[in-house]
Structures are given as structure tokens and as C-alpha cells.
């Protein structure tokens, strides 16, 4: 039996989840990663994506997050999301709006740096949309 650890998912508006979990998959900026108990202390930024958790009683659960940070400490794992919703509560038009915003940002971007950042975000959002559609 895998060991459980404390996982918290917080958005600025509320605490979404605070539970003992076995495994968490977070969308790191540089790729998805799985956090298990006794993970080395780590801090990473995350991109828009799906967070999958497996609670101590073995139930899987998913949340959609839009950017933020994950902080892994010896005591547990904290995910500070810019905004987060349960995967069943996500509305297609909300995602649609975000994609539209990202597209506008991309078109308005003046410097190359801004342009590439906007493009990244756009790409991440589209992938996310496809992932949700498939689910």
C-alpha cells in the first residue's frame, strides 16, 4: 500500500481540497510530473492543465487549474492555483473565453518575448481544451 501524504489545492477564492492522498499529477511548466510521498522538496510553476489526485482510499479525482505554483515540502504538497475548478464544473464557454483572450494577447504582443509567452499560453489552453473534450 502506497504511503499517503497531505495535499492542499488552494485558489485565491477558497480552499478546494485538503486531504490525504497517495499520488498527485501536476502540470509543471516544464512538463507533467507525479508527486508521491517523500518527494524531494521542490517548487515549480505550473501551466494551465489538469491536476489528477488519487486520494488515500484510492479514488481518483481531477481539477482544472489555470497557472500557479506547486510547493512540495517534507510535510506535504501545496498547490497555489491562480484559479481552479473541479473537472465536472468546468464550463466550455469559460475556456473558450480564455482562449479568445490569449489569442488577442498574442495578436497585441509587441515584443518577441511577449509574443512567445502568449503563444505558449495559447498552446497550453488548446491542449487543455482537447484533454477535457476527450475526458
Amino acid at each position: 500500500m502506497a504511503e499517503a501524504f497531505q495535499f492542499e489545492l488552494v485558489s485565491p477564492e477558497r480552499l478546494l481540497l485538503s486531504e490525504q492522498v497517495i499520488e498527485v499529477v501536476v502540470p509543471g511548466t516544464e512538463g507533467y510530473m507525479t508527486v508521491l510521498a517523500h518527494h524531494a522538496p521542490l517548487m515549480a510553476t505550473i501551466k494551465p492543465g489538469v491536476v489528477t489526485v488519487k486520494t488515500a482510499d484510492g479514488k481518483p479525482d481531477s481539477y482544472v487549474v489555470f497557472g500557479g505554483f506547486v510547493d512540495v515540502t517534507p510535510d506535504g504538497c501545496i498547490l497555489l492555483a491562480e484559479s481552479a475548478v473541479h473537472v465536472t464544473d468546468i464550463k466550455a464557454d469559460e475556456l473558450q473565453n480564455r482562449i479568445k483572450d490569449a489569442k488577442e494577447d498574442f495578436e497585441d504582443a509587441t515584443t518577441r518575448e511577449e509574443k512567445s509567452r502568449a503563444e505558449d499560453l495559447l498552446g497550453q489552453l488548446t491542449t487543455l481544451q482537447e484533454a477535457i473534450k476527450a475526458a
Binding site: E8, P12, E30
Partner: protein, 292 residues
Amino acid sequence: MPSLKDLRNRIASVKATQKITKAMQMVAAAKLRRAQEAAEAARPYSQRMAAVLANIASNVDGDDAPVLMSGTGKDDVHLLIVCTSERGLCGGFNSQIARLAREHARRLLADGKTVKIITVGKKGADILRRDLGKYIIDHVNLREVKQVGFSNADEIGHKIIGLYNEGAFDVATLFYSEFKSVISQIPTAQQLIPASAIGDAEPETAGDAVYEYEPDPAAILGDLIPRNISVQVFRALLENAASEQGARMSAMDNATRNAGDMINKLTMSYNRQRQAQITKELIEIISGAEAL
């Protein structure tokens, strides 16, 4: 001396006012509960944010720290962000915040600094426009916002950071009212930029293990600090919302009580006058009867 009819009308009108203030008090009490819940729900995020920031800040050298944290090295231009309510009838709530901001601005101006002001909420803008109008550079309208969300705060946060990156100011201070209890709201000034005094959260000890960062610490910090500013603004807005309702509740409670006193006083003089009139009529009848 007002006539009996006038008194009756006045009593009726004070009663109507009392009903209104009573209703407003009850509405404020309900809204206060909601605002308090929202403020409480947001607390874990800002606490954890402070812990994470303290954690990472202790791992980044001064040279790597982003400018938002270290400041521009000057303190010539000050930006004051004054958060107040959109609606009145809440006692001294708005004027207290405005007074604190005004004193701060005066002190800075006396020291020869430049002052710029961004107002959030109509009431504060109205008060400050009178004497500091020429320093107000922007106004954020939250009139249509029923429940402040993070996106509102984020917008203000981005505005501030945008101005900072343009070099429009060196130091930013946030003014809002901290919610202590229904009867006590404390106007507070909080320095946002430079964010050196990020709070008193102790860094979490990661044991002896070395923290890994992905990407590098400076990049994370560069992303985290702007977000922290939005979080601070969000917290201030929520505290403000709770304080506003608390202040309104006690103001309306006072008003209701005052109306009650007034009704008592008016009823007393109404009764006295009615009695006087009866006595007068009796005297007229008696003296008329005696004359016969």
C-alpha cells in the same frame, strides 16, 4: 408651536425612516456574514503564499531578486492605492480611510516627494478629489461588482505592475480598512512595492534537504511576486467589503435607535399638547356656563 397635525405627520415620517434604517441594518448584517465568509475562504491562500514567498526569498540572493522586491533604490514618487466603498451610509468608514491616505499624502508632499493616487471605489474618490484631485491618476470602478472576485483584484494588480514597469513610481502603498469586529474597523496602510517586508511568516524548514526549483528560483520569484501583489489587493478588497458592511450595520443600528428616541420625544410633546387642548376646551365650556 407646531400644531397637532404637524406633530402627527412628523411622527409618521420618523417612523418610516426608522423602518428603512432597520431594514438596511438587517441587509448589512446578512451581507456582512457573506463578506466575512469570503474573507475567511481567501485566508488560506494568502497565508500559504506568504509562507512560500518567505521560503523562496531566503533562497534567493539579493542580486537575483526581481526589482519588484528590491525596489528601484529611490523613493521619490509614491503611489497611493486608496480602497473605499462604492456606497455611502456606512458611518465613518470611507472618511477614515480617506483621512489616513490624505495625512500620508500631505506628509510625503511636505517632504518634497511626488504623489500619485489611484482610487478604488467611488466614495474615496469623491472625498479625495476635493483637495488632492490633481494627484489622482486613475480610478477603478467596482460599482457593478456584487461580490469581489480575484479577477477584480488581479486587474488592479496588473495595473500597478504595469505602471511600475514603466517607471511611473518607486513606492506603492495600499490603503484599506482592516476588519477587526462589527464595531471596530481599523484603517490600514500597507506597503506593496518594494515588497521587502512581505510579512512575518517564518520560512518553512525543508530540513537539510536542498530545495529543487523548476525553472530557476529567480524565474519563480519573478512570477510569484506580481501574483502576490494581486493577492494582497484581493485581501484588502475583501477586508474592505467586510468592514464596509460592519460599519454600515453599526451606523444603521445607531440611526434606528436615534429614530426611536425621536419618536418617543415627539409622542411626548404630542400627548402634552393634546392634553393642553382638552384642558383649554374644558375651561372655555366651564367659563361659558358660569357666565350664564
